[in-house]
């Protein structure tokens, strides 16, 4: 018995690097899976009381007897109370056409149906709408990032800009984007700009800020002795910028970009709302709420979340690649 356990223990002590990596992945994968299962469980539990009203009304029309019997009494009872009184009708809450809260499998089905199940040129394809929003997001993110970096360079190198720009940048972010988005759309429309550009402007408006804040911190991150060293070489401002400040700011830049791209997506979606729900993820959300299509709303929401997560992941991957090539990752 002890011989057996010893012979089992020895190989497991000598795990290869690959095995250790695999085990790590398995462990973190298991943790993520556990959380997902819990969330989906809570979601299904919530679906029952949320949709029980409709389920019972339909059942009554079909001739079933519901507790309590009068509609007035039912109105006074909450969703949980109704559910407990009529638990045998709980099954009817999961697959309604217009549920108050769609169940997870309905959202997944809708996501599958509107991505894989439709031609991407179709107006009903989520990929089509996603691309409309993504293109505005990327353009806005590009503009916002460039503007943010230029402003940060100005702030770090110019005392007047240092004193004047930051308060305005902060003030710009205190204005609710929902209030200013229609203004931007209307103003740009009156000078003949429609579609992509106005949405991108709103995206840029949201995404430049984290880039400014991060890059100012990054460009100022070199230590005094590192700057003094440059000074002893009589290095020009340009040389200090390209050889010291900019490379030192890279970790800060990528962190800001991750925040910025998520903000950009929000900006693009918000920018689609006042245009009257023509195309884009924002349009899907708005149209869904006009027509009570909760499944469509939720699938658009998840589409947006998946899009944001993928973009953040891509930036994270570029960050890893860049920093390891720079020798700044161990």
């Amino acid at each position: 018995m002890s011989d057996l356990s010893a012979s089992v223990a020895v190989p497991s002590m000598r795990r290869s690097h690959l095995q250790v990596k695999l085990l790590e992945w398995l462990r973190s994968g298991l943790a993520i899976l556990t959380v997902v299962i819990c969330l989906v469980g809570v979601w299904y539990l919530a679906v029952m009381p949320m949709n029980i009203h409709t389920a019972l009304t339909d059942a009554e029309r079909a001739g079933a007897v519901i507790q309590p019997e009068t509609a007035a009494a039912r109105r006074d009872l909450g969703g949980v109370g109704l559910l407990l009184n009529n638990f045998d009708h709980a099954g009817a809450t999961f697959n309604q056409d217009r549920p108050r809260l769609p169940s997870p499998h309905q959202v997944v089905e809708e996501l599958w149906d509107t991505t894989v199940g439709k031609r991407i040129t179709s107006k009903r394809s989520l990929v089509y709408h996603g691309w409309i929003t993504l293109s505005a997001t990327l353009l806005g993110f590009g503009i916002g990032t460039v503007a943010g970096i230029l402003l940060a360079i100005g702030i770090v190198h110019n005392r007047a800009m240092d004193m004047s720009v930051m308060p305005w940048a902060i003030a710009s972010q205190t204005i609710p984007i929902l209030a200013i988005a229609p203004m931007i759309i209307v103003v740009l429309n009156s000078i003949g700009m429609q579609g992509l550009v106005p949405k991108a402007m709103i995206s840029a408006y949201l995404s430049f800020f984290p880039v400014v804040v991060g890059m100012v911190a990054g460009l100022r991150s070199p230590e005094v002795s590192q700057l003094d060293l440059m000074h002893t070489y009589s290095a020009s401002r340009n040389q200090v910028f390209w050889r010291l400040r900019l490379p030192a700011s890279m970790p800060f830049l990528f962190t800001s970009l991750k925040v910025g791209i998520a903000a950009s997506l929000i900006g693009a979606i918000v920018g689609e709302l006042p245009t009257g729900a023509v195309e884009g993820l924002g349009a899907r959300l708005l149209a869904g709420s006009y027509y009570g299509q909760t499944i469509q709303i939720w699938s658009a929401l998840f589409g947006a979340a998946i899009l944001a997560a993928s973009m953040v992941a891509i930036i994270g991957w570029i960050q890893k690649l860049t920093l390891s090539r720079m020798g700044m990752l161990r």
């Binding site: 002795s225 003094d228 000074h231 070489y233 009589s234 040389q239």
Partner: protein, 273 residues
Amino acid sequence: MMTQSEIGGAAAEATKPAVIEARDVSLTFETNDGPVHALRDVNLQINKGEFVSFIGPSGCGKTTFLRAVAALEHPTAGTFTVNGMRPDEARQARAYGYVFQAAGLYPWRTIGKNVSLPLEIMGYSKAEQEERVARVLDLVELAGFEKKFPWQLSGGMQQRASIARALAFDADILLMDEPFGALDEIVRDHLNEQLLELWKRTEKTIGFVTHSIPEAVYLSTKIVVMSPRPGRITDVIDSPLPSDRPLEIRDTPEFIEVAHRVREGLRAGHVDD
């Protein structure tokens, strides 16, 4: 008392040209708690090829003195001359290399690239950069580490790389601000030995800030003892030790006597306090 020993030192070295000269230098920092007199009426002459250590408790102005020589600080009174020029001009003329307490290598540059940093800034050709990097890395015994990143090297090796960086552009003055302060005793001994070797081979003039008495005595041809509030020079000791200095020299009576005198100087500074 201070001026006496200072004049005595200057007379003995009169044959060699002065490389660094401080005349009645005072330097006051304005702080929220009132003015801090980092240096007051400091006079000193450093001649070509000397190895001069500055020793004293914190706040005695030894680092400030070195920084003022490098034009990183500017005296509020008096003048500095470096190679016959003002410190700013001397910096423009690439008169000195500066080594900071932290190695301060740029983490995104390899060791070779770190050493060639001043060369890039000063506009040396690619070929000359490579040749010089190879030569100075060899000088600090880091040949073969060009492609490594700083984090792959020990603290002592990083500091050696930063010395190589200061040597790369042939400045004939080397200013070192507690370069080995953060290293352990054994590494420090080794680096001290190497630094002496390097000094003899390159015939540079070295200004070296430390607060280790043995380090100052072991390395220097001249030891400048300083004391704080206000920062000033209390003693200048010309070392009687031979230029050939194995580590064992630290057990000889001569060495112990010089160390004793340094200690006395430091104590005198404290009595004034």
